[in-house]
């Protein structure tokens, strides 16, 4: 019988030799290519991984049963570029959501029929949003679209005009009816006036026309209006892209791909380390979209000559009152999880002055920044957070959230490193077929 201890000892020796050989081999490999994984702590690497692209499938929207219908997306893409829904026939969704500017308009605040008060958010990856608009006053992408059409500063349109536009255009009407069923006979102008909507000023002609319609006809027009929103949302759900230098670098980190780890500049890597680590940026800018999807009061001073904007406070009130919300009659799942969220909305006044955390993906292309576009450059934005309470002096709306105090002071070099990192979140362009108007609806 062999001595088990000596057999074990021999095995240990052989393993040690093997380990030494493998270590030497590994060191050779390692010396040929630096491994960036050594730049980050375990926690930082985990945080980087959490920012990687989500599952390929865009989250469903059960309130829109046409959300993933290709025909709806094709119709929606046509309508996205169609200017006929605006009062003067000059503006479409594309007017403010331009691919060249990351599906924004490069303005401080939106401008269509009139100058607005808020910066235009990007549509890229918006399908992952929990809430829509800076104040979350829409709880679905399709409900968001409808508000733009009737906003007097944006399209200044109305739902009856939308219905008539579809009804009067043979191709559009056929495309609509293939998806949503037969339109009512809108040729009867007594029943269906050319212009009408409920939220116009009480004494306006459009409001009077709306009041004069029967409940059934109003419902029929609301249905057409909501279907238009659902088609455009079905298109917008395709505006998804997670292929940025950051993503490629993070995947290279995860796989140990040496060449892939050279995709970011040293400054961008320092900025990334700061972002996921000491800088505490990802407390709010978390997950694949670099946003928690929630609302925060960052203590912005009120600027002279601007209206007081209460943000989420008013957004919650408008969302609850909106007949096109997830629990409403035009939702395709009135009792589902999205409708349930409405029961859990916080007290509006607790959210005074809070605005939605914007995504940082493609942020270099979506200047200016913050809900009112007050900062022209990323450097200014980062500097605002780096300056802490000092940057929030003066009159404010609501209470500055304490989370902001966790952001440390950044040196000028660190500010530039963070900016260098943020620029790596720029995705490759979407396929041209997705970013131009189709010839047919």
């Amino acid at each position: 019988m062999r001595d088990s201890s000596s057999a074990a000892g021999g095995a240990v020796m052989r393993l040690a030799k093997l380990a030494a050989l493998m270590l030497a081999g590994g060191m050779l490999v390692g010396s040929a290519q630096a491994d960036d994984r050594n730049l980050y702590t375990t926690e930082e690497l985990s945080a980087i991984a959490r920012h990687l692209a989500p599952a390929a499938v865009v989250p469903g929207d059960a309130t829109n049963k046409f959300a993933d219908d290709r025909r709806a997306a094709a119709l929606g893409q046509f309508l996205f570029f169609d200017t006929r829904f605006s009062a003067n026939g000059k503006f479409s969704c594309h007017s403010c959501h331009q691919p060249a500017h990351g599906f924004t308009d490069a303005r401080a605040v939106a401008k269509a029929l009139a100058v607005g008060t808020r910066n235009t958010p990007t549509l890229l990856n918006a399908a992952y949003n929990h809430w829509f608009f800076w104040d979350g006053r829409a709880d679905s992408m399709w409900a968001q679209v409808l508000q733009v059409i009737e906003n007097p500063r944006e399209f200044g349109g109305d739902r009856l005009a939308v219905a008539h536009t579809i009804y009067d255009d043979d191709a559009l009407r056929r495309a609509y009816e293939r998806l949503f069923g037969k339109l009512p006979d809108l040729s009867d102008s007594q029943r269906f006036p050319a212009h009408a909507r409920p939220d116009a000023p009480t004494q306006s002609a459009t409001a009077r026309e709306w009041s004069a319609m029967s409940a059934a006809d109003r419902d029929a027009c609301n249905r057409i209006f909501s279907n238009v929103g659902k088609a455009i949302a079905a298109y917008e759900r395709h505006l998804v892209n997670y292929d940025s230098p950051f993503d490629r670098y993070a995947r290279a980190l995860r796989s140990g791909d040496g060449p892939g780890q050279s995709l970011l500049s040293p400054a961008a890597k320092r900025g990334l380390k700061l972002f996921v680590g000491r800088g505490q940026c990802e407390l709010c800018h978390s997950g694949p979209n670099f946003t928690d999807g929630q609302f925060h009061n960052v203590g912005l001073p009120v600027r002279a000559g601007t209206v007081l904007d209460t943000g989420r406070e008013q957004g919650i009130r408008e969302l609850k009152a909106n007949p096109f919300n997830a629990a409403g009659r035009y939702s395709d799942q009135q009792h589902g999880p999205n409708a349930k969220r409405l029961e859990f909305l916080p007290a509006p006044d607790a959210m005074r002055g809070a605005f939605k955390t914007p995504t940082l993906r493609n942020v270099a292309r979506t200047a200016p920044y913050l809900h009112d576009g007050r900062f022209a450059t990323l450097r200014q934005v980062v500097q605002f957070y780096a300056d802490g309470k000092a940057a929030s002096r003066g009159k404010r709306v609501g209470e500055r959230e304490g989370t902001l105090n966790l952001v440390p002071h950044f040196t000028p070099a660190e500010v530039m490193d963070l900016v260098a990192f943020l620029k790596t979140l720029d995705s490759t362009a979407l396929p041209p077929a997705l970013t131009r108007p189709p010839a047919q609806p």
Binding site: S46, R248, P337
Partner: protein
């Protein structure tokens, strides 16, 4: 196949060779690349007394792990703090959840959800809890029963997927 995918495959081979060559004795934890989607966890507080042991509040239902950025439900039972076997059927609960982020007093921020509390017949549930940020959340549970009031605190970890 895109160039990115090709380099990913090459990188995977490189990573396999490199990671295999590091003996456990010299590998640092960050070189092991856990790349976990879960942050570090701690055990949640499942029972807590209010001041002077007036009430004992127990969390009897808690998802494990607590989901990240998804609504969840908590269940509670309230007991007489001086007679911990005696469950109180008329206790009412109000909740506030927030994160202190190192603050000794108060909260840096709260939840962005207002849970619905059902406290009929002693079986108390809070539907609509929602943690939007990773880290330690503190739940402040205020108990009212028979003209008395007390506050119990619970620490809850956020989050799993």
């Amino acid at each position: 196949m895109t160039p990115t995918n090709l380099s990913g495959l090459a990188g995977a081979a490189l990573a396999a060779a490199f990671s295999f060559s590091i003996s456990p004795a010299i590998a640092t934890d960050h070189m092991s690349m856990p790349m976990s989607d879960k942050p570090a966890h701690f055990k949640p507080t499942l029972s807590a007394y209010t001041a002077n042991h007036q009430f004992l509040v127990k969390i009897t239902g808690l998802p494990d792990p607590i989901p990240y950025q998804k609504y969840f439900t908590l269940r509670f039972a309230v007991y007489d703090g001086h007679h911990p076997d005696k469950q109180l059927s008329d206790a009412h609960l109000t909740l506030f959840a927030g994160m202190r982020h190192g603050m000794k007093k108060g909260f840096a921020h709260g939840m962005q959800s207002s849970p619905k509390i059902d406290d009929k017949a002693g079986a108390i549930s809070a539907d609509g809890m929602y943690f939007h940020m990773m880290g330690k959340w503190t739940l402040k549970a205020t108990v009212k029963e028979g003209g008395k009031q007390g506050v119990a605190y619970f620490d809850l970890p956020c989050c799993g997927k």
